[in-house]
C-alpha cells in the first residue's frame, strides 16, 4: 500500500522545517512585511547549528545559536524595509543569495571543506517518540501563534499594523515596533527550522542544503492565508509530497523526477489558489464600479 502510516510519519518529519519557517512568514505577513528571505535565514540557521554543535558538542546549544544567528540575520530585513523603507522583495532575494555565499565561504574557512561537512562525531538532535523535539515545538508553535494572533492584544495590534499602519499610528501604536518584532520572530523560527534540517532531518551541513524549502514556506504562507492552521495544512501537503517522492524512488522512478515532487505540488497549489481567488473577485472590466 502506497499511502500508509509510515508515509504519514515521514511526511510529518519532512514538514517540520517548512512549518517552522512558514509560521515565521505568516507572522510577518500579518504585520505587513512580505518576507521572502525565509530561505536565507533558514540556511544561516543550518550552518550555525552545525558549527555550534561541532565546537561545543551540544546539539542544544546548536539550536539556540541557530535561532540567535538567524534572528540577527533577519535584522537586515527589518532595518532595510522598516527603518530604511527599502523594497522587501529585493532585500529578501539579496538575503537568500548572501546566505548561500556566506555559508559556503564559512564552510571553507572554518571547516576547510567544500560541498558537505559531515562527521560521525557531529552531535545531532535525539528522537523523542519518533520525532525530533523541534517537531513537537513546531506543532506547539502553531497553536501558540494561532492564539496570539487571534486572541491576544498583541496579535490584534499586529494585525492592525499589517492592514493599515497609518490607522494604527493615529491610535498610538508604533507600526515599526510591531514589524521589527514580527521579523525577529520569523528569524527565530527560521533558525529553528534550519537547526531541525541540519541536526534533525540529517546530521550534516552541505552548501545550499535548504534547497528551496524556504521558498516552499513562502508559498505555504500564501496557501494558508497566513493563518497558523492554514499554514500547517499547506506544510502538511508539502511534507506528504516530499515523503511520497522518497516512496516513488523506491518504486524505481528516477531520483531527479521524485525530488521534483514538492516543487510540482507547489506550482500546482499556487495555480489552483490563484485561479480560485480570481474567480471570487472576478470582474468584467478593469474599471472599479
Amino acid at each position: 500500500m502506497f499511502f500508509d502510516s509510515d508515509l504519514l510519519m515521514s511526511a510529518l518529519r519532512a514538514l517540520t522545517p517548512i512549518l517552522l519557517a512558514a509560521l515565521g512568514g505568516a507572522v510577518c505577513e500579518r504585520a505587513g512585511v512580505f518576507n521572502i528571505g525565509l530561505e536565507g535565514m533558514m540556511l544561516m540557521g543550518c550552518f550555525t547549528a552545525v558549527a555550534t554543535s561541532w565546537f561545543t558538542g551540544s546539539p542544544w546549544l546548536g539550536v539556540l545559536a541557530a535561532a540567535l544567528a538567524a534572528a540577527a540575520y533577519s535584522l537586515i530585513l527589518a532595518v532595510g524595509t522598516v527603518t530604511l523603507r527599502g523594497d522587501a522583495v529585493v532585500l529578501g532575494v539579496a538575503m537568500n543569495l548572501l546566505a548561500v555565499g556566506l555559508t559556503s565561504f564559512l564552510l571553507r574557512t572554518i571547516f576547510g571543506v567544500q560541498g558537505t561537512f559531515d562527521d560521525p562525531s557531529l552531535a545531532g538532535l535525539p528522537l523523542v517518540g519518533g520525532f525530533s523535539p523541534l517537531a513537537y515545538l513546531a506543532w506547539a508553535a502553531v497553536a501558540v501563534a494561532a492564539l496570539m494572533l487571534s486572541r491576544h492584544v498583541w496579535g490584534l495590534r499586529l494585525r492592525g499594523v499589517g492592514e493599515a499602519p497609518e490607522a494604527a499610528a493615529t491610535l498610538g501604536v508604533s507600526p515599526a515596533r510591531y514589524k521589527y518584532a514580527a521579523v525577529l520572530v520569523s528569524g527565530v523560527l527560521c533558525g529553528l527550522a534550519g537547526a531541525q534540517l541540519a541536526l534533525g532531518n540529517v546530521t550534516l551541513f552541505s552548501e545550499n542544503m535548504t534547497a528551496g524549502r524556504g521558498w516552499i514556506a513562502v508559498v505555504a504562507v500564501m496557501l494558508g492565508r497566513a493563518l497558523p492552521f492554514g499554514v500547517l495544512l499547506a506544510a502538511l501537503l508539502f511534507g506528504v509530497a516530499e515523503a511520497a517522492g522518497f516512496r516513488l524512488q523506491g518504486l524505481g522512478l528516477p531520483q531527479q523526477a521524485t525530488d521534483a515532487a514538492p516543487y510540482v505540488v507547489t506550482l500546482g497549489a499556487l495555480f489552483l489558489s490563484t485561479a480560485q481567488r480570481r474567480r471570487r473577485t472576478g470582474r468584467t472590466t478593469g474599471v472599479a464600479s
Partner: protein
C-alpha cells in the same frame, strides 16, 4: 435645527475677554479649545497666519474655507500632528503642547479623518477598542469589547453590529465606527474633517442628529467643511479661513449662505445660478432599450446644444450607464447610436474617434494618471488626434505647447506643465480633466460628478465651461449627485431609479421637491425639506403644467 450656544448645558462663567466677534451673548459656555496666534509656515506658503480660534463647550463649531485656506493645517496643529511655528493652544483652560495625536487624545480630543483610519478586516468591536482593549488574563476580552460597543452605540444612537467586519459596512456606518472609537477613548471634543463628503443626504442628516445628541451631553464638535448647507443647518458658530487667516467669525443663526460664501472666496458669489436654457438641435446620442449590469431597458436621447442631467440616488445605475456609454462596460441588450452610427459594441477608442469625450467620476484613478506630468495628462487622448504624427512619435515641444494652451484656457493652476498631476489640488485636477476632454470638441460629452469636492470658485468656472460647450452646439450628458447642479445646468432632467429612467422634466419643472420624490421611487415621502404643494401635485412623472413641448416620460 439651529441652536444657539446659550441653549447649551453648563452655561459657565467665562470672562476671559477673548470671546470671538459674536455679539456678546450674556452668558457663554467655557472655552474648551483656544488657539491663539497660531502660525505655521511650509516651504513657499504661510499655511496659518496668526490664527485665533475659540470653541466653547457644547457647541458645534464649523471651520470653513476653500481648499488650501489652512483648515487642515490648523487642525493638524491642534491634534499634535504638526508643530506650530508660533502661537499657543489651551485645552479646557490648560496650556498644552502636543507632540503626537496620542497626547492630544489623552487631553480629550479626538479626530475623525476625512479618509477613515479603520482596519477593514477587523470587526467593529476590534476597531473600536484597538489600543484601548479590555483584557482578561492578558487576552483580548471580546465579550467585554462587544458589550462596550453596544453600550456606546445605545447611549449615542450610533447603532452598529459589533461583530460586523468593517470592510463590509457602508461608509455611513464606518463613520459611526470612527466616532465610537473616539467615544470609547473618552474624547470630549470631536474634530470631524469633511464628514459628509462621502455620505448620502440621509446619512448626513443622521450624522447631525448624533452630533446634536453629543453636544447636548456637553461634548463639543469642531466641523471642518466647505459645504454651506450643512453648516447653516447644523452648526452654532462659524469661523471662516481664507489664505491662512481668519476672515470671519459668525454666529450661524445670524448669517446667510451668501455671507459665508463671500467670506470664503473673498468676492460676491451667486450660489444658485440657473443658467439659461439652450436651443436643442438634432439628436446626437440615441439610446434604445439599453441593458447592462445595473441598467434595465433604458431609453434616452441627447440633442446637440442641450445638457441632459441625470439625477438619482447614488447606486441606481448612473455609473453603470455612463460606463456602458463610454465603452467600459459590455452592453447586454439594446442599441446605442452616436450621430446616427451604431456604437453599441464599439470599443472606447472607436467611440472617441466617432465623437465622444468622457469626464469620469473618479478623477484620480480613472480620469488622470497622478504620477504622470500635467503636460502628459493633458496630451492623453489627444495623442491620437491633434498631437499624432505619422511616425507615431510625440514631439515634446508639441506636447508642451498643447499643455500650455490648455493650462491658460482653463485656468489650471500648475507651476509648470512638468509637475506631476498628483501635485495639483482637487479643483485644479478636475479643471485639467474637464479641459482635456472639452478640448476634443467632441459632439457628445459624458460628464460625471464634475464638481465633487471642488471649491466654490472652481465650481462656477466649470459650470460656465459646460454651458459654453453646450452653446457651441455640443451635446452634454451630465450625471451628478448634486441636485442644485443638475437644476442649474440641465435643459432636461431625467431621474434614474433602479436602473431605469423613471421620470423626465423640463428645466422649469425640475424643482427640488419634485425631483426628490421621483428619486425616491415616486412613492416614498418627499425627502426635501421644502416639499409642500409640489410634492403632492406630482404623483406621476409627467409634469402637468409644462412647456408646449412637454417631454415624454420615456426620457425622449
Amino acid at each position: 435645527m439651529t441652536r444657539r450656544p446659550s441653549d447649551g448645558p453648563a452655561a459657565g462663567v467665562d470672562t476671559s475677554g477673548d470671546a470671538p466677534a459674536v455679539d456678546s451673548p450674556p452668558v457663554e459656555a467655557p472655552a474648551v479649545v483656544e488657539l491663539r496666534g497660531i502660525t505655521k509656515r511650509f516651504p513657499g506658503t504661510l499655511a496659518n497666519d496668526s490664527v485665533d480660534l475659540t470653541v466653547r463647550r457644547g457647541e458645534i463649531h464649523a471651520l470653513m474655507g476653500e481648499n488650501g485656506a489652512g483648515k487642515s493645517t490648523l487642525m493638524s496643529v491642534l491634534y499634535g500632528m504638526e508643530r506650530p511655528d508660533a502661537g499657543s493652544i489651551r485645552i479646557e483652560g490648560r496650556e498644552v503642547s502636543f507632540g503626537s495625536p496620542g497626547t492630544a487624545m489623552a487631553a480629550g480630543l479626538g479626530m475623525v479623518h476625512q479618509s477613515f483610519k479603520l482596519f477593514d478586516s477587523l470587526t467593529v468591536a476590534e476597531n473600536v477598542v484597538y489600543r484601548a482593549e479590555p483584557r482578561r488574563f492578558g487576552l483580548l476580552d471580546r465579550a467585554a469589547a462587544r458589550r462596550r460597543v453596544r453600550e456606546l452605540a445605545e447611549e449615542h444612537g450610533l447603532a452598529v453590529d459589533p461583530d460586523a467586519r468593517v470592510g463590509d459596512l457602508p461608509v455611513g456606518l464606518r463613520q459611526r465606527v470612527e466616532i465610537l472609537k473616539l467615544l470609547h477613548r473618552g474624547a470630549r471634543t470631536l474634530i470631524l474633517d469633511e464628514p459628509t463628503a462621502v455620505l448620502t443626504p440621509a446619512e448626513a442628516d443622521a450624522l447631525f442628529a448624533v452630533l446634536r445628541s453629543l453636544t447636548a451631553q456637553g461634548r463639543t464638535v469642531i466641523l471642518v467643511t466647505h459645504k454651506l448647507r450643512e453648516v447653516l443647518e447644523g452648526s452654532d458658530n462659524v469661523t471662516v479661513l481664507r489664505d491662512g487667516r481668519v476672515v470671519a467669525r459668525l454666529r450661524t443663526a445670524d448669517t446667510t449662505a451668501a455671507e459665508i460664501a463671500t467670506a470664503m472666496t473673498g468676492r460676491a458669489v451667486d450660489l444658485d445660478r440657473v443658467h439659461p436654457e439652450g436651443s436643442p438641435g438634432e439628436v446626437v446620442l440615441d439610446v434604445e432599450g439599453l441593458s447592462t449590469a445595473g441598467v434595465r431597458e433604458l431609453r434616452l436621447t441627447v440633442r446637440a446644444g442641450e445638457i441632459v442631467g441625470i439625477a438619482g440616488v447614488a447606486g441606481n445605475g448612473q455609473s453603470e450607464l455612463v460606463e456602458a456609454l463610454a465603452g467600459l462596460r459590455p452592453v447586454t441588450a439594446g442599441r446605442v447610436g452616436l450621430r446616427g452610427e451604431d456604437i453599441t459594441h464599439a470599443s472606447a477608442t472607436e467611440r472617441r474617434a466617432k465623437g465622444l469625450a468622457y469626464v469620469p467620476e473618479d478623477r484620480h484613478a480613472v480620469g488622470t494618471a497622478p504620477a504622470a506630468t500635467v503636460a502628459d495628462n493633458l496630451a492623453m487622448g489627444h495623442h491620437r488626434t491633434t498631437l499624432a504624427s505619422p511616425r507615431g512619435l510625440l514631439p515634446p515641444s508639441a506636447v508642451r505647447a498643447h499643455a500650455r494652451a490648455l493650462v491658460e484656457r482653463f485656468g489650471i493652476k500648475a507651476s509648470t506643465p512638468d509637475v506631476p498631476a498628483s501635485a495639483l489640488s482637487g479643483g485644479n485636477l478636475q479643471k485639467l480633466l474637464i479641459g482635456r476632454e472639452l478640448a476634443h470638441g467632441a459632439p457628445l460629452l459624458l460628464v460625471e460628478q464634475p464638481t465633487r469636492g471642488v471649491d466654490i470658485g472652481a465650481i462656477q468656472a466649470i459650470h460656465d465651461e459646460l454651458v459654453a460647450y453646450r452653446d457651441a452646439g455640443h451635446a452634454v450628458l451630465l450625471v451628478s449627485a448634486e441636485l442644485s447642479e443638475i437644476r442649474g445646468l440641465a435643459d432636461r432632467v431625467l431621474v434614474m431609479y433602479e436602473g431605469r429612467v423613471t421620470a423626465s422634466y423640463a428645466k422649469s419643472d425640475a424643482d427640488e421637491a419634485t425631483l426628490g420624490l421621483a428619486m425616491a421611487g415616486g412613492t416614498a415621502e418627499p425627502v426635501a425639506a421644502t416639499a409642500t404643494a409640489a410634492a403632492t401635485a406630482v404623483a406621476t412623472p409627467a409634469p402637468t403644467a409644462a412647456a408646449p413641448n412637454t417631454p415624454a416620460p420615456d426620457g425622449d
